[in-house]
Symmetry: C2
Subunit: 179 residues, 2 copies
């Protein structure tokens, strides 16, 4: 079985959630996976084309009233198998976050303390915004997707985001105080 990259599997996975078009996929990505996986149309459309060629999905042109035509993609058995097989594969290594704030802080000696503080304050407020967003998404899942079989797992990933973001905020505060 050909090995695809994680982004390709993420698209395959999203096709199991009711999203059918490239546009749908982007929407869901931006709403739900945005804190740990983010992709652009420049990846989505070519990938869907490739998945079609490799028969992991089928495509149908559909017309809707009130909206432009679109293409609906559906997983084939082969596609579902590929997804499930990927899910069983152990994750080989921890992800490396690239954090520009930490990078700048690392060289903080060459900066005025005020400037460092400003960076940290700014970072903190962005994190607080993000935390807010996570709370809102969690709320929305609990109300609108109460019976969705996926919701349990979606809330797990959101919980991760909330915990990580909270401790990053705490770190900001602690660092600001001790600079």
């Amino acid at each position: 079985m050909k090995a695809y990259n994680n982004t390709t599997y993420s698209i395959l996975g999203i096709l199991t959630t009711g999203c059918k078009s490239g546009y749908d996929i982007k929407q869901l990505m931006d709403q739900s996976l945005t804190h740990f996986w983010k992709i652009s149309y420049g990846q989505i459309y070519p990938t869907l084309k490739q998945l079609t060629e490799n028969e992991l999905v089928t495509v149908t042109n559909t017309s809707q009233d009130g909206k432009p035509d679109r293409k609906e993609y559906n997983l084939t058995q082969k596609g579902m198998d590929a997804l499930k097989n990927w899910l069983t594969q152990p994750v080989e290594q921890l992800p490396v976050e690239r954090n520009e704030v930490l990078l700048k802080l690392f060289f903080g000696r060459h900066q005025l303390a005020e400037q460092t503080l400003m960076q940290l304050e700014d970072y903190k407020s962005k994190l607080e915004q993000r935390l807010q967003t996570y709370h809102m998404i969690a709320q929305s899942i609990q109300t609108h997707h109460e019976n969705d079989p996926d919701s349990k797992y979606w809330l797990f990933t959101l919980d991760y985001g909330k915990r990580i973001t909270s401790s990053a905020i705490e770190w900001c505060q602690a660092t600001i105080e001790s600079i």
Copy 2:
């Protein structure tokens, strides 16, 4: 002033810490910045070349006894200015971590509970290892770099790593228990 990417500035920054060669830079990266910035020789050497051409650094061929020849790079005034200017620039957006474990968990509905648990256990143990490493690095900085003017900032970034990793471990445990 030409805009470089963060990786280029990270190299510029490391050249202020006593590291002088491409090899040195890689060593320090792997020891200290590895949890929030990681680069390969494939980036380091071409970047050093470019920085030399643009006169942000100067290069000297030096021979050492007991070790092969090497090239020593030193920041010019122009290079130091570029670094400091970059440090003042606000960070425009939060980094997006790409987390394969979360991605798989997001599609956990298509997996057996045992499998999900195994992934989480595995992730947790990798995180615990990482946390251990952070503690050791912090210790080593406190003993070997006590008077280093950079150490304060290095410990800040390590503290970030420790906090984030700890809460990720807690999340793993909580999720394992509620799956």
